[in-house]
Amino acid sequence: MNVHSAIQRYVFKIHSSRIIRENRDLTLTINQARENKELIALHDSQLMRFIDELNGDPNPQARIFEIRARIKMLQKEKDISVSRPKIKKLYEELDKYQFKKDYICVVMDDEKDYMQLYKNGFKVNNISYGRLLGTTGGIKSNTIVFINKKLLPELKRRIANGRNPSKQFAPAKLEAYNSLVCSSSVPVSMPHGIAVVHDCITHFTADVIELDDNELEQPSMKYVKNKKISLNDSDGYGLAMPQLMERWGKETGKNYILPGCVIRNSFCKGCVFPVDFQKFAAEHHIKNIIDVWGNSYPIKNIELILTESMLKLWDSYSSIEDYLNNCKKNHYTFSITKSSDAELENVRTMNYQFLQSYDFTDSQIDELTAPTINEIKEILQSDYRKTILYTKGVGLNEKNIQNLDSSFATALMIEPKMINDPYVQSKLRSMAQKRIDDAKIGVLKVPANYSLVSGDPYSLCQSMFGLTVTGLLKAGQVYSKYWIDKGVDTIVSFRAPMTSHNNIRRLKVVHNKEMDEFYKYMTTPTIFNSWDTCADAMNGFDKDGDCVINTSLPLLVNNTKNLPAIVCIQHNAPKCVPTEDDIVLSNIRCFGNPVGEVTNKVTSMFEVRARYKKGSREYRILDYRIKCGQLYQQNAIDKTKGIKAKNMPEKWYRQPLNKANGRHDSIMNKNDWLNSKIAVDKKPYFMRYIYPAEQKGLNKYLKANNEKCIMLFRITFDELLAKQNRTNEEENFIQAYYRGLPMGTAPCTVNKICRKIETVFDNNFSFNNDVCKNPFFDYSILKCNVEYSKHLFNKIKKLYDDYKKELSQYIKYAKSERVKPDEYQMQKYIFKEHFKRKCLEQCPNEEYLCDIILDLCYPNSKSSKQFAWDICGDIFIKNLLKRNNYRITYPTLDENGDIEFNGQHFSMQTTQINDYAIA
């Protein structure tokens, strides 16, 4: 999946408590914000484009590229007294275009803060800000978008896009529709002819498990045979003529017909797939299409079909012309947020959610973990060729090798001696350690791919042209060109978040001539049939950009049981004509992300269930509770929409409630005792590798337990466990140890995987590497060999010291606060850019800078080399290329090759780099 992003823009992200502390009027420079970690990078979006346009700057992207090119040119200037002021000025100008002062994200620390800021607004650098909206992702982390009050009325008018304001909505839903303008996207051209059609609804019967928690303390679970099901097969997707997808492909830098892409427009969200629906109409002698408003259009004039589930507010407009006129008036364009790649990958990693419901034997665990263990062992061998394959993937070829980046793997392809570089060594070590830790939490390699979900477009065509819906696929079938080409007939499909085995589907991959012809442009999406409960089973997927992971691994295929789908009784959110106050209240309800909490509790239930025999009472109760997890996930989402929904009963996951109940009825006491036994009050053991706090807690417990053991018995705990003929006191100590463990260690599937990886790698983690024995590395191969002044050196040294201090502080903070990977990468990017700028402002010449930084970081083995690669990585690559006459040697697939990696053979090929430009 390819996420489209254009330039990055910087905005302030400030905590509400800080604004309140400063009496809602604060002064903040960009540099201060960088230091305070109050600056974030955002991708371009419709909202950003609106703001640029209102500020009279319709094409900032071109200006940004131009300034960057001028900075690059100035880096070659030898006389730094000339280039220094110019670079400083250019960076100031760059800030003007990259930094969006009109847009501020505020993290609400308190509901009261939100109400105060919403009612009264606030000022930053003398600009007044007012609330605009909360994006779906932002609200989960309590973040609300505020906008310069001068632009606010116009932006609100544009976002409303002339919709009928008297329509009723659930406030949270309207906010989600409004926030579509914030999706990062790349604008594309207008299709020649658009029609909005009714969704394709199919009706069939299926066996399901029905969960209902209405008026009950604990949900009722019923197995219903032949339940009548209605399925919206086109939920969130539409169709595009192949020529439109080809055009959009070109506009987004792809030279193929996009196999599927996720689009945005005003109140429009969803996926479109390339299908020649004009040909379908001609084959069925149909000339016109009737849209949702009942208007008829010649099908030959239509290039894009939207469904009513894509155009959320279609009934707020009188016709497609009305909608498009409003879009034109308010300067909306179609845009693409992400698109399918031309080809799917061959290998993907599983995660613990997908694996936890399987019941694997020890030999099956060995089989499942073997490819991952081999991969890690190959990294540890430190063969530079395998390192390249691991970091760059197995798909390197003559064409894509021309696009070089400034990573250490590129350096290795140019100069194999780089394997001796201490920076490369430390990178390899951390890469291997991360891979081992990931494997411990079920991130295991399997032959699989990640693909967009589509309904059956044949069914949609039949439905939109008024024909009887039959579709081409039958219940239990899917169409996937990737698996057809591989000759695979059965796959297993997963979608996150998932809780129980009922969420996994085993599907038949089918095809025939008619399908191959009709779906020929949809080369990478997985096409689901219109006649079974896959969507319900896989936690209610829709087709607006949702993805599934499909695998053909026989171990998973043979062990997957097709269990009935779990269907939870749905509740509708109350509707009203939402006022601003209603929306703010709905934002507050959405703060935080309760779904993760429910999912974690269900994961813990798998661990507790593993303590009991299959079929025992405890096992069956926990099995029921695991199934109910899906209902409580649904309830957590419903709550954010303003629906009254129940939480998971506390006695399922909290011990003291059961113990402190104080009831004397003998039956109740028996129940309390059982509840207390199976309450999930601990996270499973493998989660120590996910949550640093759990890891710390467990390590502290183990250390204290060992020390206490020495204090009491004069032997370590391991020695006590190995001791024969233990005394009563010693036995009690061991039992108390198991009772007191802060994490669940029962042999559930993922704990078993974790233990397996621990056994293989813990205490055996070392590089089989000649380099470690001979650590000499001549860093002059990276140098430009110029002479610089001591004064300049000292200036950069000061920056280097600041860099080390700030980076270590941030890494410490990110670890303890479990900062999300996206946020972490973004802050590191801002941090790197900031120091690069500071360095260039002090020493604008790239050659001086390169040599100074090398002499700073490399002579001392303990100095961090990350700084050198962050600031001068591109110059190192340039110097290495120059030294090697612009030749690069890379591993490529070759049946007769001498390098074996991931079960495939590779050989090293050498090629000339024609036009060196760092990606």
Binding site: K700, A704, E707, K708, A736
Partner: protein
């Protein structure tokens, strides 16, 4: 930060010297308690004082990154009063119990634990003679070094075998209870400095020669006739001497030039 008996004096010392120490949050917490309970300042005033203190004495202080920490410290300062104890008294019966143990190192450790237990009993009436300081800190204060870190627990096991200390039932609870605390009898020894309890004991029983640092009054081992300062003060003094000699040297050079 080691145990402080008189927090008021310590807070005043920190303010006068402008020392944040290795862990500024401990110093800030002490100052917050001082401003709240001694100077009767309100929350806003305390926050302002702490920020000002950090601005003056902490290199690269960024108020935005410290805001939440300071707010938290200030709010917690209401719950904890300032500690003002002049000394902890040790009774003859307690010293007699300690002297029952033949090994001097064991006695140093036991004396240290006794001092801690009596100190905690003074703060918390329900303490029941428990010591909840961490074990490496007890050994450091007792001036007992070990070859291997696990030896500390073997030492404690030895002492427990005399029945003078006991351990809690919970596996991961490493607190220690001193079984011979006497809070009622008259004290024969007063401890007003908790930095070198092992030396205090040795000095009292006349084992070895000790002097007090002429600057900070810390008890130090007398290694020669000129032993005057503890390591920390000696380091400070040396810095001062170096500074003065450099100053003198540059003055002399200037005079020569003139």
């Amino acid at each position: 930060m080691s145990v402080i008996l008189n927090e008021t004096a310590c807070a005043e010392y920190i303010i006068n010297q402008g020392k944040t120490g290795r862990n500024p949050t401990s110093a800030l917490f002490l100052l917050a308690k001082y401003y709240r309970h001694k100077k009767h300042m309100n929350t806003e005033q305390i926050s302002a004082q702490l920020k000002n203190f950090m601005k003056l004495n902490y290199k690269n202080f960024n108020p935005v990154l410290w805001d939440d920490t300071i707010e938290d410290i200030v709010s917690k300062s209401t719950r904890y009063p300032l500690r003002e104890i002049d000394s902890v008294g040790i009774t003859q019966s307690e010293l007699d119990k300690i002297s029952q143990i033949p090994n001097i190192k064991h006695r140093q450790i036991l004396f240290t634990m006794l001092c801690y237990a009596k100190l905690y009993n003074t703060f918390l009436p329900n303490n029941n003679n428990w010591v909840n300081s961490n074990i490496p800190e007890i050994f450091k204060t007792a001036a007992v070094s070990v070859r291997h870190k696990n030896d500390r627990f073997l030492y404690l096991n030895d002492i427990a075998n005399f029945g003078l200390i006991s351990f809690p039932n919970k596996n991961d609870n490493l607190n220690i209870r001193v079984n011979f605390v006497d809070m009622d009898s008259e004290a024969v020894m007063e401890i007003d400095d908790f930095r070198e309890l092992g030396y205090e004991y040795l000095n009292y029983i006349g084992e070895g020669r000790f002097v007090r640092c002429s600057i900070c009054k810390r008890l130090i081992k007398q290694t020669g006739r000129r032993s005057k300062y503890c390591a920390e003060c000696r380091h400070q003094k040396q810095k001062e001497w170096q500074k003065n000699s450099m100053k003198k040297h540059s003055q002399n050079r200037n005079n020569e030039v003139l």
